[in-house]
Symmetry: C2
Subunit: 347 residues, 2 copies
């Protein structure tokens, strides 16, 4: 037991070759004789030689890792996409022989400081930054450092270019409005969050733009804001919108979790979805398929996005392209049963 790991020196000695030759042979350099390359490859395979990552990283300056910083939010809060996201990243990375580093920012510790540490310790060749905030110091830092990164999400405006991939929430929310409008709805509700993430603006603006495009002055939009991670406050906010006879007939939620709360509270208030109230979400989380009557939402295909982000990042690391790579993904409508014609009684 406790078998030692074989090193390049030992492998070279066993082949009666120099370290240099073996290293080059394994790297497939043309200058090493074909015969030697095969002999070395064979011996390496048989000896189960695996190059030491630290040594390789040290000399080459490339770690073969991509970093992702994971914030801890609280005892009961887990990023609902994390599983899909890291799976997608892993898929994208593995085809290029790269792996993922997950660094955790402990509760109360700045995500930025962890990011700095990952970057400056040379652990990663590039990083993925998610959940872009309105003023995001992480992007500014990475930009200043000239460190390869891809953002999942966008800034609202920026005086510099950067690589990003985003889901077109603006478009989706416009589509949701159009669909609901055509179903006769005129009084809309939007449940949004107070956390200063850029996507809340992109989606809300997309909704507002669609309303403006329609140019129907009878359209009304009520907006209610809830803290993202406070379930109780979220329920209160939703009920604020649901109470009173002058409530919206269609509610669009910034994301599925909020939409599910809307459906739960609607049920509790004796409202039938979609007869009395249409509800549309965004993200298509697993629970949305199960929550009665089945939430109509948009599928953001996180896993696919993550895979593309990995591809983009590896390209950025490899080629350092002069122009930023950007990609806007169109989410697809998943029409379940939570939306329908506007109730006849009112309007």
């Amino acid at each position: 037991m406790t078998t030692r790991v074989i090193t390049l020196k030992e492998l070279a000695a066993s082949l009666d070759l120099s370290i240099t030759t073996v290293s080059r042979a394994l790297a497939g350099h043309e200058q090493i004789a074909q015969k030697t390359r095969e002999r070395v490859a064979q011996a390496a395979r048989q000896a189960g030689y695996v190059p030491n990552t630290a040594a390789r990283t040290l000399v080459s300056g490339r770690s073969g890792f991509v970093g992702l910083v994971l914030p801890i939010r609280g005892p009961n809060l887990v990023d609902s996409f994390l599983g899909e996201f890291v799976t997608g990243l892993g898929e994208g990375l593995v085809s290029h022989g790269a792996d993922l580093i997950l660094a955790t920012a402990a509760l109360g510790h700045s995500e930025l400081s962890v990011l700095r540490h990952v970057v400056e310790s040379g652990r990663a060749d590039g990083v993925v930054v998610t959940r872009i905030a309105e003023t995001d110091e992480r992007l500014a830092y990475l930009r200043e450092r000239g460190f390869p990164f891809v953002a999942h999400g966008r800034l609202l405006d920026s005086d510099f270019g950067y690589n990003w991939l985003d889901t077109d929430g603006a478009h989706a929310f416009g589509e949701a409005f159009d669909m609901l409008y055509d179903l006769g709805h005129r009084h809309f509700g939007l449940v949004t969050i107070s956390e200063p993430m850029t996507f809340r603006h992109l989606r809300q603006d997309g909704l507002a733009a669609a309303i403006a495009r329609r140019g129907d002055p009878s359209v009304r939009l009520d907006v209610v804001t809830a803290p993202r991670f406070d379930q109780k406050a979220r329920i209160e906010a939703v009920n604020r919108m649901l109470q009173g006879s002058d409530r919206p007939t269609a509610i669009v939620a910034l994301f599925d979790e909020l939409a599910l709360t809307v459906m739960e509270e609607a049920a509790r208030a004796g409202l039938s979805v979609p007869r009395d109230l249409s509800v549309i979400g965004f993200d298509n989380i697993a629970a949305s398929a199960y929550a009665p009557p089945g939430l109509t939402t948009f599928d953001a295909s996180i896993r696919q996005c993550a895979r593309e982000i990995a591809d983009m990042l590896l390209r950025v690391i490899g080629d350092r392209p002069a122009v930023p790579l950007t990609r806007l993904i169109q989410p697809t409508l998943v029409a379940r049963a939570s939306h329908g014609p506007a109730p006849r009684t009112r309007n």
Copy 2:
């Protein structure tokens, strides 16, 4: 832009000290004068010095990483616990300054070969192994290598000791039986999987043991087996159990996803849960709370388990304890609305 990263040599030069002294000062060695230690710490902080991981790993033999190998199963299959699991691992690791490496085993590539690579490249100081199979070559390999690891789950029998943490599925399934028996159920169904994972035996055996303990010959147990990742076959299997008038009055599913399928198919067959049929799952995934009427299940608290696994692994890495660390976690019953008294009409 493209700011260079400061190195120990530069930091030492700026302080007019040797590399050795600075290194020791930062490591807090007693032999360095208190005054010097402070001066160095101050300068390091101000210069934003972060030690290079590769260099440190190379010389110390410790990477400060813990590895987890992630299998890719197919386009639409993501480990439902992955998010919670890596969050928990991250939480457990961060307090000790360690980070997580997620290595992906591409579709068609052996998980073992990726594990070997992680281990032998020196990327990680220890690994977490999940989803233990009946004959698991990964454990044998790690054991032979003498490499620190903690298994999430257990082997059924083994001729060697190893560190593991498991959720006591056997106990939970016994508890489920007892509860259902006391509600008058006598005809039981178990939906299990064909994938050769050890937990299917542990849980099924727990159920069988509880039945035996009760010693009531009128108790019947039907078992149906479905492939884990084939939704269509799974539905067929469930329907095999549901069809016919002589169906069970209470079905226990190996895990929530199966239980949800049971509830869906029951609804499709016009059966009311829990009036006509009681269903109990295991895991308490998010969707279980939403699926009507609310699935009764056991909460495995994956995140908490992962955190403990991280703690255990770090202890194994640090102390190399002589006796294996083992931990059996009791899942807690989440009593929702999918179980109830046995229907009167039959029995």
